[in-house]
């Protein structure tokens, strides 16, 4: 064997993992000593990769034509395969050296799903033939394709020929296949929510993760998985979860389960709230609403004299913002707070009020977009957590101007994408959830799914039922009459439940001092206005001192 062939054999062996120690050493030596060997290595490696990516199917026939051919047609009636059959017959006739391989029909590449609603920079579609393309609306998915959703993005896909909708969350990777028994989703990581239409007799949708298999015949559920565990939650209907050790359980509406190696599969509320820090929280409200001020349309600092339209004005704006952040940090330290939540980071230019979509800060409030990284980094560097409001609706800018809030079919995806953006850009971990949900999903379901996908965040939902306390800390305002469930009620069944108490006027704080001490003792978190010095900060500090005294 020539040295060249020997080298190629070693490269093949390296990529197949079959080299022995001596062969590995020879390959090492060649590569270190001979540039020609390195070129040969790359050529051999790239040859393998290019072959795996080569569009054989497309070269043989256009995909769209293939998709239109019924699966039941006999292989010799399929135009694209006639050539192969003829070629085989011809080879027999001429007695070629090569074996004539006459095969039954290859599976036709059929569209099994369609991307309907990508958001953000959605991600990539890795075709079964190794080609890669960006995820876009109306792109067809074929059996064997793998979807990789970018961080901060979300994707909705609809299965072909049925009313099943799958929501894929930030950072999810999933491979879709289909056979006679139904559609199979191989979920490598991330979060998947599914509204599954009733499946035809003998068919089911199956989700496989490294730890579990979930079989569905028609329901609404969600799955989250990583390297260590898989959690499943069911909103409607019934699913069967099978762990790697072959044990299985059936889950019905409202139930969840966690599959992880070494632990038995049991029905539970899958993820309870995990946020142990109960120190107070500061809030920052930077704007006055819909001012229509020419030089300060977002209403920053509630000051008509602010000018964000000129370089000089922007310099002054940033200086003032930095001073406000200095004050905020000092106040957070003074009160002993755990962090601070921005309520109106996108400004308040338009009538709907709080935008609750940090992804849009660049277009809605460019001056704050330029400053946000700096000021939030300063707060975090001072040791405080940071949060911001997120809405359940989509904030949209119609051509006629202004801003509208549109309820969406899947508020979980909507909120999740916003949280993922804020987590990624700023390391934000605290999120008041505001907005209308219509009849789409209960707030408890929204919080449950988001906390499963992002277990390290504190969700503060406005409007909540008692179950919401399992996955979030609802926003409470004891100074206003409300039908909201108080945290005291939730703690009767969930001892670690807590709420977040809205900033209260000093007079109310003093009048209800004892009640608030009891609330803090029981675990509730108080908030205060942090962006300027005020009397309520000292009162909150005193309440905490009393509540935490030995």
């Amino acid at each position: 064997m020539s040295p060249r062939d020997e080298l190629l054999q070693q490269v093949d062996g390296y990529l197949a993992g079959t080299l022995n120690v001596q062969q590995q050493a020879q390959l090492e030596q060649c590569l270190r000593a001979e540039p020609a060997a390195c070129r040969m290595f790359w050529a051999a490696l790239n040859h393998e990769l290019l072959l795996r990516q080569y569009p054989f199917a497309e070269a043989a026939q256009p995909r769209t034509a293939a998709a239109s051919i019924p699966r039941t047609a006999p292989w010799w009636q399929r135009p694209a395969l006639r050539f192969a059959a003829s070629a085989a017959v011809l080879l027999i006739a001429v007695g070629a050296l090569l074996l004539p391989i006459v095969l039954p029909a290859r599976d036709i590449i059929a569209r099994i799903a369609m991307i309907t609603a990508p958001t953000g920079d959605a991600g990539l579609l890795h075709r079964a033939n190794q080609q890669t393309e960006p995820l876009r609306a109306d792109v067809a998915i074929h059996a064997g394709d793998r979807i990789a959703v970018a961080l901060g993005a979300a994707v909705e896909i609809r299965l072909a020929h049925e009313d099943t909708v799958l929501g894929l969350g930030s950072g999810t990777t999933v491979r879709l296949t289909q056979d006679a028994s139904g559609t199979r989703l191989g979920l490598d990581r991330g979060a998947l929510s599914a509204a599954v239409a009733a499946q035809a007799l003998g068919r089911q949708l199956t989700v496989t993760t490294p730890q579990a298999t979930i079989a569905v015949i028609g329901t609404r559920f969600s799955v989250t998985t990583d390297d260590a565990r898989t959690s499943v939650e069911v909103d409607h209907g019934r699913v069967r979860v099978s762990a790697a050790d072959t044990t299985s359980i059936d889950l019905t509406a409202g139930q969840g389960a966690v599959a992880e190696p070494g632990r038995p599969l049991t029905i539970s509320w899958s993820e309870n709230l995990r946020w142990d820090d109960r120190r107070p929280l500061g809030v920052i409200m930077l704007c006055r609403e819909t001012t229509s001020w020419a030089t300060n349309p977002r209403g920053w600092f509630g000051d008509v004299k602010v000018d964000v339209t000129t370089p000089v004005g922007l310099t002054a704006f940033n200086r003032r913002l930095d001073i406000l952040i200095d004050t905020t940090i000092a106040n957070l330290r003074e009160v002993g707070a755990q962090g601070v939540v921005f309520w109106d980071l996108e400004g308040l230019e338009h009538p709907p009020g709080y935008v609750g979509d940090p992804r849009q800060i660049a277009t809605l409030a460019p001056e704050m977009d330029a400053a946000a990284d700096r000021i939030i980094a300063r707060i975090r560097a001072a040791g405080f957590a940071v949060g911001m409001t997120v809405r359940t609706e989509a904030a949209e800018r119609p051509a006629s101007g202004g801003l509208t809030l549109r309820p969406v079919s899947d508020p979980v995806q909507q909120v999740q994408a916003k949280i993922a953006y804020a987590e990624r850009r700023w390391g934000a971990t605290i999120f008041p959830i505001i907005g209308e949900r219509g009849d789409a999903l209960a707030m408890s379901t929204i919080c449950r799914r988001i906390s499963a996908a992002s277990p390290g965040v504190l969700l503060i939902p406005t409007g909540a039922d008692v179950d919401t306390y399992r996955w979030g800390a609802p926003w409470l305002n004891p100074s206003q009459p409300s039908t909201r469930i108080p945290s005291t009620t939730a703690r009767q069944t969930q001892p670690r439940a807590f709420g977040v108490i809205a900033p209260l006027e000093t007079a109310y704080l003093q009048q209800h001092h004892d009640d608030l001490v009891q609330a803090v003792k029981a675990g509730d978190v108080m908030t205060f206005r942090a962006w300027h010095r005020n009397a309520e900060q000292q009162t909150v500090k005193a309440i905490y001192a009393e509540a935490t005294a030995p």
Binding site: P35, W42, L49, F56, A59, A87, R106, A148, G171
Partner: protein, 171 residues
């Protein structure tokens, strides 16, 4: 609407994904694992897109990310497969292909596949396009698996020599 900065970075990733796949495979010595790592690298590249300045060397930036991600994932998955030393990888990296050479090799492959007799081409498509093993191809064709295996080796060698000849990598 023009593509966002992140979209442009992702498009660069798509354009260079074959080369990145190769870099990862050279490091981990496993084409299948390299595909998984490539997915992870895409997520990292997307999340760090803001730190990449368009117009600078994307491949160098992405290869650096891929190198660290490969090390991390190999450590996480406790791979015990023997891999190349840092010295050998450095020698390889110094001669790593660029987009132009990747495209040249792709073009060479295309021409060589066109030159293959239909049966050889179909066999190649089954093995690489459909990912069938020799045993699966044998089952479908009704032939012995070892016969198919020998045949595939022969076709693979013919094809590789054709491509290498076009690239000037002659014996």
């Amino acid at each position: 609407m023009p593509p966002s900065h992140t979209e442009q970075v992702q498009q660069l990733f798509v354009r260079h994904s074959g080369l990145l796949h190769g870099s990862i495979a050279s490091q981990c010595g496993d084409l299948v694992l390299a595909e998984d790592i490539l997915q992870e690298v895409f997520l990292v590249v997307s999340s760090r897109a803001d730190s990449f300045a368009l117009g600078t060397n994307f491949l160098a930036w992405a290869r650096a990310i891929a190198r660290f991600k490969t090390l991390e994932l190999m450590r996480e998955r406790q791979r015990d497969r023997a891999t190349l030393s840092d010295e050998a990888l450095a020698a390889l990296e110094a001669l790593a292909p660029d987009v132009e050479s990747w495209q040249s090799q792709r073009e060479a492959l295309h021409r060589c596949l066109e030159l293959l007799p239909p049966a050889q081409r179909q066999l190649t498509a089954l093995a690489y396009g459909d990912g069938l093993t020799p045993a699966e191809i044998a089952e479908r064709s009704g032939k012995a698996a070892n016969v198919v295996h020998v045949l595939m080796s022969r076709v693979r060698k013919i094809l590789r020599e054709c491509v290498f000849a076009r690239l000037g990598l002659t014996p």
